[in-house]
Symmetry: C2
Subunit: 502 residues, 2 copies
């Protein structure tokens, strides 16, 4: 029973790591929601301490020795003992090896420094965004880019340092592959936007009427309660940037933010974050602490959020159900017929803010960030020139120039957290979501009737069965093939946009 003791030791270590990560998640959640402003410096220390604790365990001799009993670290082939494992255990070992090889490359001190820096930088960014002061954030960003480049060097890459960072979020991708997808997307979307802009726009001023904080929060909680989320295991709060964080499949939290004259943003944020939350709470509890209770990749994660936000949340069926409920909360909408409302929320306009973008121009925002960050990492663009580069690309892709940096290169939190290579997964997730949506429609001929009657639970069940409950069993590519019958591609997404907007 040698393989039993090795796998059990690994499970115990992995569970401990996951427990630390749960705690880390709470520290992050709190920092973004309720922590008093002045709590940031001890918070950085707390996060750095946990990060190095996790790093220690992940790189421990004990972990390595047990892993080596089951798999050959250099080839990834199972040992004689490893062959005796059950299929789920083989998946665990495969994923532990990948993680071990990656993480042993990064020195503990490096991890601690990075965690410390980004935890402070995200607070500086917050203030910089508020005060539209790029210069105050710039030195932090420079340090982060410097360390990210160092990280890429340590992790290693074949063609582009960006590959090494991208891999952390989407293992199946490289800068070159993303560039191909994104050039195809640009080619399809840019002319589509032009075409749409020629059409007459309808009145959507009713979307810009100020809705007070309490009413918006009520709408938020109403929507939250209608989604197939379990309130015993999830909650909704406010933060300056909407996000979803799960400590555990039993404790998942999403946030929204309220914009007085854009109540619709609250609704789409909640749908988006709920998609993430459904994934996390749908992971198989019995495997908590192992890779089988982890999401495949950010691409798949984002496919879940966009599935709910875009494909369900912008469907006519959803609004047939939710619009009457919304009208009860916002009396002035009773004068706006559903069709008019539906058209208005589909208005396509080049805009400054990614998270408020319509579904047609959304990917252009992601492409802009991809094109900028690969240059920042390669060193061909300096932080000083970032604001100009941003504005130039805005002009090129959208034909508009941000009035300030808060609405330009300071708008997203990601870089302050050191998340270079993260953005592309937003567009890749859109692509995957479109494919998954197509598959769902094939499966459920009556999907529109169901949704318009308020039945959303069948979607959760289907997604849970085919995606969530599988954890990291399959790779991004294999999972998409398994669920949709085809490889990851921009086609379904482009088709969806063309069909909807032409």
């Amino acid at each position: 029973m040698d393989q039993k003791s090795a796998i059990n030791e690994l499970k115990a270590l992995s569970t401990q790591i996951h427990t630390y990560q749960s705690i880390q998640t709470l520290l992050h959640w709190d920092a973004e929601t309720y922590m008093p402003e002045g709590g940031i410096s001890p918070r950085s220390e707390q996060l750095a301490t946990l990060a190095s604790l996790i790093h220690e365990l992940k790189t421990s001799k004990k972990f390595e020795q047990n892993l080596k009993k089951l798999i050959h670290l250099n080839t990834g082939k199972p040992t004689a003992l490893g062959k005796k494992l059950s299929s789920p255990e083989k998946v665990m070992v495969r994923e532990w090896r990948k993680e071990f090889l990656k993480v042993t490359k990064l020195p503990g001190d490096f991890v601690k420094t990075f965690s410390h820096l980004t935890s402070e930088a995200s607070q500086v960014w917050r203030l910089a965004k508020k005060e539209d002061n790029f210069q105050s954030f710039a030195p932090y960003l420079e340090k982060i880019i410097h360390l990210s480049r160092k990280k890429a060097e340590i992790l290693g890459f074949k063609n582009h340092p960006y590959d090494a960072l991208l891999e952390g979020y989407e293992p199946c991708m490289t800068e070159a592959k993303v560039a191909v997808f994104f050039s195809k997307l640009k080619k399809a979307i840019l002319p589509l936007v032009k075409e749409i802009q020629k059409k007459k726009t309808i009145d959507d001023t009713f979307l810009q009427k100020t809705i007070d904080h309490d009413t918006q929060m009520e709408i938020g909680h109403l929507l939250f309660s209608k989604l197939p989320l379990d309130p015993k295991h999830s909650r909704l709060d406010l933060s300056s940037h909407p996000f979803s964080l799960a400590l555990h499949p039993l404790d998942s939290r999403i946030t929204t933010r309220l914009i007085p004259n854009a109540f619709i943003s609250n609704i789409f944020s909640i749908l988006h974050e709920a998609g993430h939350s459904l994934y996390e709470t749908g992971l198989p509890l019995e495997y908590f602490g192992t890779p089988l209770c982890e999401a495949v990749s950010l691409t798949i994660h984002e496919s879940q959020s966009r599935f709910w936000e875009t494909f369900i949340g912008r469907s006519k069926s959803f609004w047939k159900y939710f619009y009457p409920l919304l009208q009860k909360k916002i009396p002035h909408l009773t004068k706006v017929p559903l069709n008019h409302f539906y058209q208005a929320i589909h208005r396509v306009t080049p805009s400054f803010i990614r998270v408020e973008a319509d579904e047609v121009t959304y990917c252009l925002h992601v492409i802009l960030r991809f094109e900028i960050e690969r240059e920042l990492i390669a060193g061909t663009l300096s932080v000083n020139n970032l604001p100009d580069a941003w504005n130039d690309k805005m002009k090129e892709l959208f034909g508009i120039t941000p009035p300030n940096h808060s609405m330009g290169c300071l708008q997203d939190i990601h870089w302050s957290l050191g998340d270079f290579g993260y953005f592309p997964t937003y567009a890749l997730g859109n692509m995957a979501a479109a494919q998954i949506f197509q598959a769902m429609k094939k499966q459920f001929k009556d999907w529109e009737d169901r949704i318009s009657s308020g039945d959303l639970a069948f979607l959760r069940t289907w997604l849970k069965e085919n995606i969530h409950s599988l954890g990291k069993t399959y790779s991004t590519e294999n999972l998409i093939k398994r669920v949709t019958g085809s490889v990851l591609s921009e086609k379904a997404y482009v088709d969806y946009l063309k069909e909807k907007y032409k």
Copy 2:
């Protein structure tokens, strides 16, 4: 420079322990405020993991070896190297030794089991209290008492197992000493209550008018903003039982609870918890991670909360300042003159709930718990008989019988958290607070004018200088002597009550 390296190693270990404790505190805070109900089982795991991590460090060979270089563990006398330390460092070493001796007695598994059990038990208690179901909580309480008794045995005691537990909260106390104080208090308070009850009561129905949630929360935040708390480093939330928790001198959090028909309870809760918070945020930041940035004892902690809640919060001067502000929020109070209001909030009535008790009967609630818990720990009272014992003592001390267990023996969270020996510090804290209040009045002849003009900051400055900033430099007894000129005694408290109520 051998002593330098030893003290630095100890400081580093101690700081790591404090960082883990900060994180623990956040896990507790979250569990009491925002955690989704279903998050409890992973939360228990997280807390237990941290508890064993802390225990590991506190009992580590590295800690012991460095400590031994500076102090003789058996006698507490400094070694040759230890004599070279600075005075603050000598205090650290003294306190580390005490803690080390205590904690090495408790096996790691015991600590983990205890943490696991109490984290679950506190959730069970919550529900049991809500549903008035003592039986559902009883098996947990039995286990906790069993383990607490075991803890007392492991820690060791001379006369009563309760001594060992008491020492964890108030090192200078024993069951016998407390019994003496409490019998004197009973002797003074019981006749005083009878005497007061003979007097005619004034109308206080205006205190029982329902005040809606939002208005009460507004009042809470208003009061919070008028207290000398720094909003950058503290915050106010809701929970089912008011508490104060500080992650760090820079991040302190208090909670209140809102009772629709008892708005005054919200005000006194906030004053009480603010007192705790002022202590924690007044600890010397530069010593964070060492005993110099720790509170002396729960008695001193409670002296700070009662100082604000009772001695300041129930003073005429405070209400001269705050009553007009309160009247603006609660219009029906405009018809009630200050004097009438002041008398009404000083109404003395035997009541069921400790945290809502008036300042005269408050200590009787504590005495009741002390008398019960020393018996539970000694094994002379069984959990099964607890409800009856509680009700009998209520009859004896207050002349009333609780209508249900929720308002009786299920009302406090403490036992579910395994905090046996904690309650006495509430009354000891009252005694100390009365002494500190006397000392303050001697120091500031114009204290009443200052407070009635809204100046509360001078109190914080004085308390910080004389108590907060000293951390664990002095013992409870020495600190009280230093601040007030006399030893801990019930006299000042009894005098205060007699003067105010006769």
